[in-house]
Amino acid sequence: MKNMTKTGWITVIGMVMLAILPPYFLLNGHAFYMDLALRLVILGIAAVSLNLLLGHGGMVSFGHAAFIGLGAYAVGIPSYHATWGGFDLIASYNGLLHLALAIGVSALFALITGAISLRTKGVYFLMITMAFGQMAFFLFQSLDVYNGDDGLTIDVRSELPFINLDSPMQLYGLSYVSLVIAMLMVKIIVNSRFGMVLQGAKDNNERMVTLGYNTYFYRLTAYVISGAMCGYAGFLLGNFTTFISPDMMHWTRSGELMFMVILGGASTALGPILGSSVFILMEEVLSSFTIFWHLPFGLMLIGLVLFVRGGLMGLFKGKGE
């Protein structure tokens, strides 16, 4: 612990607060704060997964909300059929099945769309991931079986061994631990040999190719890992909100996710969590003043791009870090 940097300490303190405060509020009858914290932690996982691509791999994916949606529908669709019949193959309340579907489908979607998107770079990549995200949106919008645009209410949450997701405390526990694991996973991956190649390719792709790395496959691997992780966040989100709709996948949701990563400071460990906290607090605070909260939010976003470099985490960073 002697070698901890200032940002390292902030990360630890932040995570400890996240572990203690929400359960404390819940036990004292403030369920509302627990809801906020749950959203924060779940979106935090999604933001962490996006950060692996955007911050560490230099891949600006603008379609990440699709993975959240896929993960959430992986809970909603089997649960729906278990209640109302049909689609016997997956009709079940079994949480492990939901989980496997959420991660598997997201990874597959990432593999297919990533394989095509990663043949391009820069602004092409950005627009194509955006288009693929929107494809998922329109797909679920067109599925009348699941109420299309109007969305689907999840009557029965995923049934997991040992954990009861109907209990906010247990759901929060699972989400919080998942977030910590996600953050550690990204940190470990980034520092591994694989991560070195990924970062090298972000900084100087030509050099990496000349050294003998087929950077395409490294990027695709990162894309699949990130997609699967984000799908897992969707699994949690579906179990939290118990309502899912195509709107979760709309490109503006992807934009918000990206905003969280950039605002918090891409390629830092706590950055995505910081970004999602600020986003959720702002959403709550601003929307309590005015239904037009997108206006100050949008202005802030423009201001952020024009005037702040390196995001919030950049403001915290000590010299020489």
């Binding site: 950005l126 929107q134 599925l143």
Partner: protein
């Protein structure tokens, strides 16, 4: 197969394609010349529709409303350029996207404040309300013909503007060599602002033309922008010719898919399955097309030479 229906759907597809071209042309113009990614382009389309709708209700004349709304939309584009876009040209594409995403939120909320959440329906003037019988049984609404005509005229106008005018020459020169053009004593900043305003007017025009059919609504901008992106990705970002061809292809495929895919699917699956699968597949069709084209040509059909 009903050939009259097919013919009419082809015309509908063409109409959608030309509408998409109006939006995509501004997007590709701005990207090709300014290297700027503008998510807020869809919002300008939406604002154009709202301004025109209000003016139509106020003046009682759709055509006059368009004529007044056009320069107003151009002014909105000009304001966006001066206030935000101009400060972003030197930053990277990620900043463009985030900044203009902020702009989308601002513009959509402003539209919400000014025009309310519900949107406005635009009364169709009598002369546009009719239908034209092209041949036996094939009728097409006059408005759709107007959109097709306008789209073709604008496409022609853009080709002329970019290839045969002094402005076009400056635009093309500015794209490849900013310092060179400014060294010639031309106010390049003004030129860029004009290009931006022109793009805004084109998107606004599309919004105005479609407003009697769909009304003006806040969501319309966010809906069209991604499709317009798909158009310019397929066509090759920055290529006007590519944007035109891709827009028409997408308009046709989307329209025909939505109307005929179920008939096609019934041929090899049960009616029930076709009823579920057809809408799902047709919703994804343009993206699948995009994926296929990119798998073969990652830079789109007409990749711009200079950018490699």
């Amino acid at each position: 197969m009903d050939y009259t229906l097919l013919f009419m759907q082809v015309l509908n597809g063409l109409q959608l394609g030309l509408l998409l071209f109006l939006v995509a042309s501004g997007l590709t113009l701005v990207f090709g010349i300014l290297d700027f990614v503008n998510l807020a382009h869809g919002s300008v389309y939406m604002i154009g529709a709202f301004i025109c709708a209000s003016l139509t209700l106020f003046l009682g004349n759709f055509l006059l409303a368009i004529l007044i709304a056009l320069p107003l939309t151009g002014l909105v584009g000009y304001a966006i350029e001066v206030l935000v876009a101009r400060r972003l040209y030197d930053k990277d594409h990620l900043d463009h996207v985030l900044g203009t995403f902020g702009l989308v939120l601002v513009l959509d909320t402003l539209a919400h404040i000014v025009w309310g959440p519900a949107g406005i329906t635009v009364p169709l003037p009598a002369w546009l309300d009719g239908q034209v019988e092209l041949f036996d049984g094939a009728v097409i609404p006059v408005l759709r013909l107007l959109i097709i005509g306008t789209g073709l005229a604008v496409a022609g106008g853009l080709v002329w503007l970019v290839n045969y005018t002094r402005l076009g020459m400056l635009i093309r020169a500015g794209a490849s060599n900013r310092t060179m053009v400014s060294a010639l004593g031309i106010d390049i900043q003004m030129l860029f602002a004009l290009v931006f305003a022109l793009g805004a007017m084109l998107a606004g025009l599309a919004g105005m033309l479609i407003s009697p059919l769909t009304g003006a609504s806040i969501e319309m901008g966010g809906q069209i922008i991604i499709t317009a992106f798909v158009v310019i990705i397929i066509g090759g970002i920055g290529s006007m010719k590519g944007a035109f061809i891709a827009a028409v292809i997408i308009g046709l495929i989307d329209t025909l898919g939505r109307s005929f895919l179920d008939t096609l699917f019934v041929l090899f699956m049960s009616e029930n399955a076709a009823e579920t699968a057809a809408p799902a597949v047709s919703a994804m069709m343009i993206y699948i097309l995009m994926a296929i084209i990119l798998a073969v040509k990652p830079q789109g059909l007409f990749p711009p030479k200079a950018r490699g």
